[in-house]
C-alpha cells in the first residue's frame, strides 16, 4: 500500500484498503476557524450531542477575520468566541496567539504522522508535510467529526512525484509547486488523487518547503498531498507534538497510478499568470512587467524561511517607490521568530509594511485587499479573478524570492539577476 492507503487502513481498523473503497476513519484533529466555525458549532449542536468527541482534539483558530477591520467582522468574532467557549475547547488560538489555521495545526503539533486530520478550509492539505493525511472539508463534515471523532473517505488513487537533483540558489519549493501546476494543468488528471512526493530533493527540503508543496496540492485538484516522515519530521515535532506517533511509509511494492519525475537542478524561478493558475512561465519570460502591490504571507508562503529569503534580498536596500509591499507572517510564532532573527527590522527599514498574522488579503476579505487596476505580485496560492478583492485586479503568483527581488526594481525580476 501507499502511505495514504496505509494511513486510511490503520485508522479504519483494516489490514488493507484499495483505491475506490469507502472507509470510515478515526480523526486525529478537527480544525475549524472564525470564518466557518460558528456555523460548524451550530451544525454540531443540531446533532444533539452534549460534548465534542475530544476537547483536546477540536482545534479552534482565528485567522480570516482578526483583527476585525469592520464592525460586521467584530460581531462575527464575538459569536465565534461565544461558540468556542460554550464547547469548552482546550486549544483556541485567538487574537494575540493567532496564526493561519494550517500553520498552527502543524507548528503546534496538532497533526501527527500516520493519522488523518480535517479542517474547514481548503488548504488543510498542508498537514501532509509531516506525513499525515490532511483533508479539507466544510461545515457538515467538521460538525459530524466533532460529534463522532470520525469521517468518511473514498480511498484515493496515488500519483507519485519523484523529485531528484540539487536545489539551485533563489529557487524555492513554491517554484516546484508552480512548475508542477504548469506540467499537469487543471485538466482533471489529479482530481480526487493523492499526491505523494519523494526523492532526494524532497529529503533536502526543510519543513517550511514541505508545507508549501503539500499546501498547493489542493490547487492541483488533489485530495491530499503527502511526504513520508523522516528524521527532520521527528526533530520538528518533538518539542510540540500533542501525542505519540509511528512512522508510516509506503511499501516497496505500493501501486501508483502514475509516477512523474522532476529534476530540480533545472528548476528556475517560476510564476503563474493572472486568472490562470496553470498558465505558468519562467520568471525570465515576463521579466520587466510592471506591478504596484507586493504581498508575502498566507499558509503557502508566510513562514520564517520565506521571511528570511525576503530579508536576504531586501536588507540594506529600498523597496521601489511605486510598490506597496505587505508582509503578513503566518503565525504569531513565526512573527516572533522573525523579530528575534532581525528580519522584521531589516524589512521595515527596506520599506515593507508588516501586519499581525492573519489570512490577510488572500481570501479577498481582509488586510491589503486589491482594488480596481491593481497588479499584485503575490506569494499566495490563488489568482483567479476577484480572489484578492476587485475582479478588475490582476494577480501574479510566485515565490517570496521573486516578490522581494521584484519589489526592488518595481518590475517583475528574476532574483538570480540581482
Amino acid at each position: 500500500m501507499t502511505i495514504t492507503e496505509k494511513i486510511m487502513a490503520i485508522n479504519s481498523g483494516r489490514d488493507k484498503v484499495v483505491p475506490g473503497q469507502l472507509v470510515w476513519t478515526n480523526i486525529q484533529s478537527v480544525m475549524t476557524m472564525d470564518y466557518l466555525g460558528t456555523e460548524t458549532f451550530k451544525a454540531f449542536d443540531s446533532l444533539g450531542k452534549p460534548e465534542v468527541f475530544d476537547k483536546e482534539r477540536v482545534i479552534c483558530v482565528s485567522d480570516h477575520l482578526v483583527p476585525p477591520p469592520t464592525q460586521a467582522f467584530a460581531t462575527l468574532l464575538n459569536q465565534w468566541r461565544e461558540a468556542v467557549k460554550a464547547h469548552d475547547i482546550k486549544h483556541f488560538y485567538d487574537l494575540g496567539r493567532q496564526g493561519i489555521a494550517h500553520q498552527i495545526m502543524v507548528e503546534q503539533g496538532h497533526v501527527l504522522p500516520g493519522t488523518l486530520s480535517i479542517g474547514t478550509d481548503s488548504h488543510a492539505n498542508t498537514y501532509g508535510a509531516v506525513g499525515a493525511v490532511g483533508n479539507a472539508v466544510s461545515v457538515s463534515d467538521a460538525a459530524v467529526a466533532m460529534a463522532t471523532g470520525k469521517s468518511w473517505f473514498r480511498v484515493p488513487e496515488t500519483v507519485k512525484f519523484h523529485i531528484t537533483g540539487k536545489w539551485q540558489p533563489w529557487v524555492m519549493a513554491k517554484d516546484l509547486s508552480l512548475h508542477i501546476m504548469g506540467m499537469m494543468h487543471w485538466n482533471g488528471h489529479l482530481i480526487y488523487k493523492t499526491i505523494e512526493f519523494d526523492g532526494p530533493a524532497i529529503s533536502d527540503l526543510e519543513m517550511a518547503g514541505r508545507m508549501t508543496l503539500c499546501n498547493m496540492t489542493v490547487d492541483l485538484g488533489a485530495k491530499n498531498g503527502i511526504i513520508a516522515p523522516d528524521a527532520k519530521t521527528a526533530e520538528f515535532l518533538s518539542p510540540v507534538q500533542k501525542g505519540n506517533w509511528n512512522y508510516v511509509t509506503s511499501d516497496s511494492d505500493a501501486v501508483y497510478e502514475k509516477v512523474y519525475e522532476v529534476d530540480v537542478t533545472n528548476l528556475v524561478p517560476t510564476i503563474s499568470m493572472p486568472d490562470k493558475l496553470d498558465e505558468v512561465r519562467r520568471v525570465e519570460e515576463v521579466q520587466g512587467t510592471k506591478f504596484n502591490k507586493a504581498f508575502v504571507g498566507t499558509c503557502t508562503n508566510g513562514r520564517l524561511e520565506d521571511i528570511e529569503m525576503m530579508a536576504r534580498i531586501l536588507k540594506g536596500k529600498q523597496v521601489h517607490r511605486d510598490v506597496n509591499f505587505m508582509l503578513v507572517p503566518a503565525s504569531t510564532q513565526v512573527y516572533l521568530d522573525a523579530i528575534k532573527a532581525g528580519y522584521i527590522t531589516d524589512l521595515i527599514e527596506a520599506g515593507v509594511a508588516v501586519d499581525t498574522p492573519s489570512c490577510a488579503s488572500c481570501a479577498g476579505i481582509h488586510t491589503g485587499v486589491a482594488g480596481d487596476g491593481d497588479i499584485v505580485l503575490s506569494a499566495g496560492n490563488r489568482n483567479m479573478k476577484g480572489r484578492m478583492g476587485s475582479k478588475n485586479a490582476q494577480i501574479y503568483l510566485t515565490s517570496p524570492a521573486v516578490v522581494a527581488a521584484s519589489a526592488l526594481t518595481g518590475v517583475i525580476t528574476d532574483p538570480r539577476s540581482i
Binding site: 478550509d121 481548503s122 461545515v139 482533471g188 479577498g364 476579505i365 479573478k385
Partner: protein, 159 residues
C-alpha cells in the same frame, strides 16, 4: 431549463468570499454566480439543471458554494469533473451532482434524468449518458437532505 458553463468554474465565481461569512440564505441566493453570469439569478427557476465542464467548484472549501446553487432552485449539477471538496460538500448539503466525463449538454438542452441510476438522456441531441456510479451511502445522504440530517437519523454511517 439547463444552463451550461465552461471549465474550472471556481467557488469564488459561484459565490464570492465576501458573501460567505454566514449561511444566510437570502445573501447567498442574491449573489449566486453573479460574476460568471449576472443574469443567472433572475432567470433560474426551481428544478433547473446547471451544466459545467472540468473541475467544477475548484478553490475554497466553502459549503456555501453548493448551498448557494441549491438555494437558487437548481436541483442537479452535471459536470465533466468536479473539484473533490465541492463534490463532497454537495452531497453533504443534499445537492445532487452527476459526473459525466464526455457529456454534450449545452444551454437550453432538454434533459430526462434518472438520478438513482445516473442516466441522463439529452432529448435535444438524442444522446444518452451514464454518470459515474455513486456509492449507496452517498445516495442515502442525498436522500436525507445532507450529512447532518443523515447522521441525526442513523446516528452513524452505514458503510
Amino acid at each position: 431549463m439547463t444552463y451550461a458553463y465552461g471549465d474550472n468554474i471556481d467557488t469564488d465565481r459561484i459565490i464570492a468570499g465576501k458573501y460567505t461569512k454566514t449561511l444566510d440564505f437570502s445573501t447567498l441566493a442574491e449573489h449566486v454566480l453573479e460574476d460568471l453570469d449576472p443574469t443567472f439569478k433572475s432567470k433560474v427557476q426551481k428544478g433547473d439543471t446547471l451544466i459545467a465542464g472540468q473541475n467544477f467548484g475548484c478553490g475554497s472549501s466553502r459549503e456555501q458554494a453548493p448551498l448557494a446553487i441549491k438555494i437558487s432552485g437548481v436541483s442537479l449539477v452535471i459536470a465533466k469533473s468536479f473539484a473533490r471538496i465541492f463534490f463532497r460538500n454537495s452531497i453533504n448539503i443534499g445537492l445532487p451532482v452527476l459526473e459525466i466525463k464526455d457529456h454534450d449538454i449545452e444551454s437550453g438542452d432538454e434533459l430526462k434524468v434518472d438520478l438513482e441510476k445516473g442516466i441522463v438522456m439529452n432529448l435535444s441531441k438524442k444522446t444518452t449518458h451514464q454518470a459515474a456510479p455513486m456509492p449507496k451511502v452517498m445516495i442515502d445522504i442525498l436522500q436525507e437532505g445532507g450529512l447532518v440530517l443523515y447522521l441525526k437519523k442513523y446516528g452513524n454511517y452505514q458503510i
